[in-house]
Amino acid sequence: MNKGLSVKTIVAIGIGAAIYVILGRFASIPIAPNTYVETTYPFLALMAVIFGPIAGALIGFIGHALKDAISYGSVWWSWVLVSLFVGFFIGLIAKRVNIEAGVFATKQILLFNLIQASVQAVGWILVAPILDILIYAEPANKVFTQGVIAAISNIAMVGFLGTLLLVVYAKTRSQSNSLSKE
């Protein structure tokens, strides 16, 4: 796996994780105590779609762990692992979106949102609470409620802001069918 990492992916992981930290620290919108509308996940989804599953996974993991460490002084591992999970699977399946072709229209938007919603639903409603129970022995109904809230807000955010980011990004790529023979 190490050999397959291009220099560009490595830099994307590094810079991506840095942006993740800054967005998580400064650009999250508090809606209730301990609950934020995160702007990090739309960004993570964008990076996963552009740079692939390994970049997505590592941006989620490094970014989230560092963000926790420098803002709370401790790392909440169960949710960090969910960021890794979300980045990896969005990146893995989103190869079919093929953003570099420069087309991100209704079909791709639907596909992307289907992927992100199902990956995040599994991540927040299943993986996060189960890890919370295993690692921290927290009460089940509390962590599942947190998981459902996180799932709803993050799926909505990625659906809105993530889609928007991808549409704008696709416009900066030259379309694969933009040349025509005369």
């Binding site: 560009k8 830099v11 994307a12 927290e138 109904n141 509390k142 409620t145 802001l161």
Partner: protein
């Protein structure tokens, strides 16, 4: 906007002099032990040791007060949430019920529940000093070389070092974009409705992300030109050699981890149960 972040605090102390690898290994042992155990005695012992380490490191509480307040607030909320959702969790875990105060229905206060909350809070207090010390006493550039030395591929270690290098830059850029957009009237504070705030956040995020994508191109071209990734290994500019103190600390750390696991699991349960012993 001026939210403080934890960064490296340069000082002269035994903890600062340890190599980054040692601190990383200790930090990992420490958080594994704290994560797995629920044994009150183990937690108390770890807590005492971490206070001692804190004293040795010469870091003052005033230097990290803002984070501590933040964590205490978070802990309080978490405890309240646990109680609201599951006031009988302690009874479930410890198997007995000593009611000390009846409020209403299942919301009575039991000794078991209080003990469970004490343990959860202790668990946090054990991890916090260790993690804080690690962040505050490890030079960021040394951190990446430490990751490489404990077996993480150097390309990934290098991404981590890039992250640490670019956090301040991106923070500065984020601020200037945010101020420019605020000058143009986009409001992120509570005065706006939620949907409007999300929209306003996106006008800051968009330019930040797209300028950073360009930055990725520039940096990766520069690295490619310098032949990054052509060899199997690389050396690090900042890597402290191992001294006797490092070996000593690692041995103690591993012994502590094993001891805490043995004490925790010798009776087949993660929890120390003071209620059935009587």
């Amino acid at each position: 906007m001026a939210v403080e972040m934890l960064t490296y605090i340069k000082k002269q102390s035994p903890v600062h002099e340890l190599s980054g690898v040692t601190k990383l290994i200790i930090f990992l042992c420490w958080s594994t032990a704290a994560m797995l155990t629920y044994d009150t005695w183990v937690l108390l012992a770890l807590l005492v040791i971490s206070f001692v380490l804190f004293k040795i490191s010469k870091i003052k509480v005033s230097e990290i007060r803002f984070v501590l307040l933040f964590i205490l607030f978070f802990l309080l909320l978490n405890n309240i949430a646990i109680y609201l959702f599951s006031p009988q969790e302690g009874v479930k875990i410890y198997g007995t019920s000593h009611v000390i105060w009846d409020i209403a229905g299942r919301y009575n206060i039991t000794l078991e529940q209080l003990f469970y909350h004490l343990n959860i809070t202790l668990k946090y207090f054990v991890v916090i000093p260790a993690a804080l010390l690690f962040v505050v006493t490890t030079n960021p550039s040394e951190f990446a070389s430490s990751l490489n030395r404990i077996g993480i591929p150097y390309k990934i270690a290098y991404s981590v070092s890039l992250t640490l290098r670019y956090i301040p830059d991106i923070q500065r850029e984020f601020r200037s974009i945010a101020q420019a957009q605020q000058a143009r009237g986009s409001d992120l504070s509570k005065n706006e409705k939620l949907t409007k705030r999300i929209k306003n956040a996106s006008v800051i995020i968009m330019p930040l992300i797209f300028s950073s994508l360009e930055r990725i191109e520039v940096i990766s071209n520069a690295m490619e030109l310098r032949g990054f990734g052509k060899k199997k290994k690389r050396t690090w500019y900042r890597a402290t050699p191992f001294r006797r103190g490092d070996y000593f600390t690692i041995v103690i750390g591993v012994i502590l981890l094993i001891a805490s696991l043995v004490v925790t699991f010798h009776d087949g349960s993660r929890f120390y149960n003071p209620f059935t012993l009587r």
